[in-house]
Amino acid sequence: MITLLLFAELAERLNTKEMQIDASGKSLKEVKEMVKEQHEGIAHVIDQSMIAVNEEYAEGTEVLKDGDVIAFIPPVSGG
């Protein structure tokens, strides 16, 4: 299983900050599409988001393994 962390608008719209996903062996891009299909209402926010794997920004081609923690990072607005 991998852990998906959600923040800001994504966490609010899905009413959760964390999801467990059976996605070992899948690529980041595949996981992104999977979550978008399951939650169509927030697909556009996911499309605007960056993705981090284990606290580092990652490309879509990366293949996930058990225990990975990924995060959808909606457009940031610190400062």
């Binding site: 800001a8 960056m50 606290e55 580092e56 920004y57 879509g60 457009p75 940031v76 400062g79």
Partner: protein, 154 residues
């Protein structure tokens, strides 16, 4: 070893952040203080709520510090960002940069705040009298077709 890069829920002491970058080789310390603005394009903010992916945010603040050291040698940087609910005029972020010569301190300080707005996972929700909205600087300024933010030029 004190922490140069922090996310906090408490009010930030400017003095404490400045202290972290004091150094005999420094000829300048520049501080940037980001505060909560009441009016944005005529819209009145009541308060802001900041949220962060804390562990990653600290790492990304440290990365900015490393980028600064490469670009401006002998620079020391410390950054603290506050999260939670903030009222008008409260301090959201303090950046302190010390450098041997003053010009670099201005440039490095500016670089730090711009990079925060690009790569640090912190989000701001504006609360108005008639509504609320999560803000996103990436939307206003930069697109990330690859899903990754731009690298600092290394």
């Amino acid at each position: 070893m004190e922490n140069l890069y922090e996310i906090t829920r408490d009010p930030i002491s400017i003095e404490a952040i400045v202290k972290k970058v004091e150094h005999p080789h420094a000829g300048a310390i520049n501080t940037f203080i980001g505060t909560v603005r009441e009016l944005t394009h005529g819209k009145r903010t009541i308060y802001l709520a900041y949220e962060a992916y804390e562990s990653m945010a600290v790492k990304k603040l440290a990365q900015i510090g490393e980028e600064i050291k490469k670009k401006w040698p002998d620079t020391r940087a410390a950054i603290t960002h506050r999260i939670g609910q903030l009222k008008i005029s409260e301090i959201a972020v303090v950046i302190a940069v010390s450098t041997p010569h003053r010009n670099d301190s201005y440039e490095a300080s500016r670089y730090a705040i711009e990079r925060i707005k690009e790569i640090v996972p912190i989000w701001k929700k504006e609360h108005w009298e008639d509504g609320e909205k999560w803000m996103g600087d990436q939307l206003e300024k930069v697109a990330y077709p690859t899903g990754k933010p731009p690298k600092g030029d290394e």
